[in-house]
């Protein structure tokens, strides 16, 4: 019989008893009794009918279930009765579990989630290492060497990011993000296409003659509206000014595989063979060009450690074979998981600690509220115990009640998490606004991993909550409780545990608030501090470098546009979202360390470039039109370069020798001036030596990259000029259509994104933490006041004033706060070590932030203490003492 047959069976029993009772009555009547007498006689003979029913039900063997349902009903009634308590507890749990789950989802999407391919745990990353860089790229030659010699891999693939252009009918071109990959890439990763097929190593020989590519899912959706007939068709790609070549579309990748790094997306996947045959072959054949990531799949019996040792051995043979390009160069292998954890870095650790902290705090707080309530319910519990209920039964009932509370909190938390996750994309700083490009569009999903995590959290929370009633019942002492109508004194021990939990909580809140302060200030600093770049409106257009005459025409047209102040150009502009800065090999004949050439990042710029981007020349002078290709070479150096290589000497007028990259060898260049440091890749990076070369000298004497970035300072908002600037380029030649146009403020905003995101996140957590602490403190003090009601009554009866009573409670709060603050400072010291790297121009224990955190916490604590203190002050002595 199922539980839903319960009611039916009850009715059946009722009917049976009724039938037999009536029969008894009839028999009595047949024996000659009057109907009325018969009725009573039958009833007498039967005895207590409800009791019979009760005893009979017990034999049905489901009383346990029935009892559970009754406990549930009872529990819900109890929770409903104290709606304030329930609401506070459920909200506390919801905030704790909800925010933790949402942060987990964020972490999972950013770092934890493995690459979406079969057996992702076998994947490893291989990096080229130098003393300065532990995550460097490889040349294609190095890749081939590693692929031949590494036995620990069942497969090794290379991928490198490049851009390509797809001509449109109007003569302009669409800029695409392309991954140039070794032809075995999809075999090694085991990626299956959504449509058509992917290229494999078997195609390698054929690919030069029949170039083919695979499309990324989003690109397919955006450019081809998801048209399946694209498979098998050819699309044109532009190389240089005049060459257009056709590639066949083999297939489309699934939406689940967009790149090996989360949050990235590629439009086109092209085999290295096709790139080599149709564009600059030297990028693949020359040992100089290092731009490939390596991804390997471990052989079934190999470990990442073995692979690492093998890779180091291969790197050292490369070093011996080619000392020029492989000087001091090693290699290391990381499991993909380790790599992703490294990417998460301190941000990940901090987030994880926060998740744990928030869950712990909210659970402790609810346990606290439960204990406080348990005290007021002690008379009920003891009464029930003394009437013969077993401890197990009472504990069971309290357990059910707490679990119901936990369940409600969990459900509310899931709802809250879903809401927060919907807001997550807004928290992530969007990519810089760009003309001619669309962002990667990170999305967040509630997958099984999320629900598993949320379920795990709920389980832990429930277990903690389940402990409370067990303690509660075990501790209840019958006699004193019944005598006084109060609980037996909670022992000093439990009280210490509770105080300890509260100290910790105040401490964590304090530390979180300090972090909030420093991180917010750090973010504000990125917006206000001098950074070597202007925050004024500057438009940045990245395009191909045409010949001098065309360039001059473009610049004249741009200068003629209304709203444009100044126009200048360089190879790149700071913070551009392409691969990290370009470098040139240079040496200083007089410097002991620099007799051998080193790689120094540089930019080639027109006169006025630094004026537009806002990098000041500290000493000496900037480039003028006098620096043309006729004279000897000149350079500007950054402050860090001056400090590092010219300590104590005046660099101005000294010479640097720069590798021309051609038969001309190293060329002599005179240092004209020193500039302030400007960020190259992103804000907050360590400043490094940097060189500026006049654009004309670069274009004629060094190896020309064929790229140009025009920077324009504008009167109105820079992005509002983007379309007219683009038309000015196209008007001269459709081929000059910029690959993207963005603005320096947008690049700065994006680059400050990490600071902004951390600041927003920690601020949210600081507020949540503070709210949790207020609830926790309130719960504790409310408990305390209830417990000390009698004592307060006596004090008042003996002449204590209401003010004195309030002070009594407030002084308790103050003591607690003082200890909590000390704990907080200690935690803040630990946090400071972690945070240090993530701060911009502010010390982790910034005095202002500490003061603000202190003020906020004190105000919050006073607010939490106010209500219980008022309640204590309003204790009527006679009422309190009447319990005696």
């Amino acid at each position: 019989m199922r539980w839903w047959g319960f009611g039916k069976r009850d009715v059946d029993l009722e009917r049976e008893l009724q039938a037999d009772l009536e029969l008894e009555e009839e028999e009595q009547r047949e024996n000659g009794l009057s109907p009325e007498e018969a009725h009573y006689a039958a009833k007498r003979a039967f005895g207590n009918v409800p009791l019979i029913r009760e005893h009979t039900r017990e034999t049905w063997g489901w009383t346990r279930l029935e009892q559970f349902l009754r406990d549930c009903r009872h529990g819900l009634r109890q929770l409903y009765k104290s709606a304030g308590f329930t609401l506070t507890s459920v909200l506390t749990l919801a905030v704790g579990l909800g925010s933790a789950s949402a942060i987990f989802c964020l972490m999972d999407t950013l770092w934890l989630h493995p690459i979406h391919v079969p057996h992702a745990s076998q994947l490893v990353r291989v990096f080229s290492t130098t003393p300065q860089d532990q995550e460097g790229y490889f040349s294609y030659f190095e890749y081939q060497t590693f692929m031949q010699r590494m036995r620990a891999f069942s497969g090794l693939a290379a991928l490198g990011a490049r851009g390509s252009l797809m001509p449109r009918p109007d003569g302009t071109s669409l800029a695409m993000d392309v991954n140039i990959v070794s032809s075995n890439f999809f075999d090694v990763l085991d990626v299956r296409p959504q449509l058509g097929r992917v290229f494999t190593s078997a195609d390698a020989a054929d690919l030069r003659a029949h170039p083919a590519v695979v499309l990324g899912y989003r690109f397919w959706q955006h450019e081809f509206n998801g048209d399946p007939s694209i498979v098998g068709r050819s699309i044109p790609l532009r190389q240089g000014k005049n060459r257009i070549y056709q590639v066949q579309v083999l297939g489309v990748l699934p939406s689940s595989f967009r790149e090996i790094d989360p949050n990235s997306d590629r439009d086109l996947w092209m085999p290295a063979e096709v790139w080599e045959a149709n564009t600059s072959a030297s990028e693949l054949t020359s040992h100089r060009f290092r731009w490939f990531h390596l991804v390997g799949r471990l052989a079934p019996d190999a470990t990442a450690t073995e692979a690492n040792a093998q890779a180091a051995a291969v790197a050292s043979t490369l070093q011996q074979a080619d000392p020029t390009y492989n000087h001091n160069r090693g290699a290391r292998v990381l499991s993909d998981f380790t790599y992703r954890m490294n990417q998460a870095g301190t941000t990940g650790i901090v987030l994880f600690a926060i998740v744990a902290g928030v869950v712990l705090l909210s659970t402790v707080n609810v346990a606290h509220l439960l204990l406080a309530r348990a005290l007021t319910r002690m008379p009920e519990v003891t009464l029930r115990l003394s009437l013969g209920a077993t401890r197990a039964v009472v504990a069971c009932q309290l357990l059910v009640e707490n679990l119901l509370l936990g369940l409600l909190g969990w459900a509310a938390g899931l709802g809250l998490a879903a809401g927060m996750i919907a807001l997550l994309p807004r928290l992530l700083v969007s990519e810089p606004a760009m003309l001619n490009s669309y962002g990667s569009g990170t999305t967040f999903h509630l997958d099984w991993r999320f629900f598993f995590f949320a379920g795990l959290l709920a389980l832990v929370t429930m277990l903690l909550l389940a402990l409370v009633p067990l303690v509660q019942v075990a501790r209840s002492q019958l006699i004193p409780a019944l005598q006084t109508g109060q609980a037996g004194r909670t022992t000093a021990h439990t009280s210490a545990v509770r105080r300890g939990a509260l100290w910790l909580q105040i401490g964590i809140s304090f530390a979180l608030l300090i972090s909030t302060g420093t991180l917010v200030r750090s973010f504000l600093n990125t917006q206000t501090r001098p950074i070597g770049l202007t925050r004024d409106q500057v438009l940045v257009a990245f395009t191909q470098d045409p010949d001098d005459a065309t360039r001059a025409t473009v610049l004249t047209n741009l200068r003629a546009l209304p709203g444009i102040r100044t126009v200048a150009y360089g190879i790149r502009s700071p913070l551009m979202p392409s691969e990290s800065g370009i470098a040139v090999r240079a040496l200083l004949p007089d410097h002991p360390e620099l007799r051998e050439p080193v790689s120094i990042k540089f930019n080639a710029i027109s006169p006025g470039f630094l004026g537009v981007t806002g990098t000041r020349v500290l000493r000496g002078r900037a480039f003028t039109d006098a620096e043309d290709e006729s004279g000897s070479m000149t350079v500007l150096i950054s402050r860090t370069m001056a400090d590092k290589y010219f300590s104590g000497r005046d660099p101005i007028g000294q010479h640097v020798r720069i590798d021309s990259g051609s038969a001309r060898g190293f060329l002599d260049a005179v240092i004209l001036g020193i500039t302030e440091d400007a960020p190259i890749d992103h804000l907050g990076e360590m400043p490094e030596p940097f060189l500026y070369v006049p654009f004309h000298q670069y274009a004629t004497k060094l190896s020309n990259m064929g790229e140009m970035t025009v920077v324009l300072s504008t009167v109105p908002n820079a992005m509002s000029m983007a379309q007219s600037v683009r038309q000015a380029f196209i008007h001269v030649n459709p081929l000059l259509d910029p690959m993207f146009i963005t603005s320096q403020p947008e690049l700065l905003r994006y680059s400050a994104g990490n600071y902004q995101m951390t600041a927003e996140l920690v601020t949210a957590l600081g507020v949540i933490g503070l709210a949790l602490t207020v609830v926790g403190l309130y719960g504790f003090l409310a408990f305390l006041v209830t417990q000390r009601r009698r004592e307060i009554g006596i004090r008042m009866a003996l002449g204590g004033t209401r003010q004195a009573t309030m002070l009594l409670i407030l002084s308790d709060t103050t003591r607690m706060a003082a200890i909590g603050l000390v704990v907080g400072l200690a935690l803040a010291l630990v946090a400071a070590r972690i945070e240090k790297a993530a701060l911009f121009g502010v010390s982790p224990l910034d005095a202002f932030s500490v003061a603000m955190a202190f003020a906020a916490l004190v105000i919050a604590m006073l607010a939490a203490a106010w209500l219980p203190a008022r309640r204590a002050a309003s204790v009527e002595p006679m009422e309190a003492l009447r319990y005696e």
């Binding site: 029993l13 039938a19 005895g47 019979i52 009979t56």
Partner: protein, 117 residues
Amino acid sequence: MSSIDKRNGLLQGTLDMLVLRTLLYGPAHGHEIGKHIQRTTNDFLQMQHGSLYPALHRLEERGWVVSKWETAPDRNREFKYYRLTEKGRKQLVVEESQWKQMAEAVARVMWPAAEES
């Protein structure tokens, strides 16, 4: 006079045995069973309904009897009739032999002389 009740000291399981034995005559409803036991023992065992119905439901739970609502032949109404199952029949044999052993054991202690003669 005694009453069958699990709380008054009569051996546990005795009532079950008596009910099963009664049902050996054929299906009967609760009232009949109670009346039958009472009459057979010349009112020595006063049936307590508080014990009878739990016992019946317990036997049913264990599968020794089955119940069915049937119209009584002499009254024009339905009663819940209990019927002995094959399993119940076996159980009765077991309980009967256990009871016999018990009774003999008790008898040997109580009346040792009778044993000798």
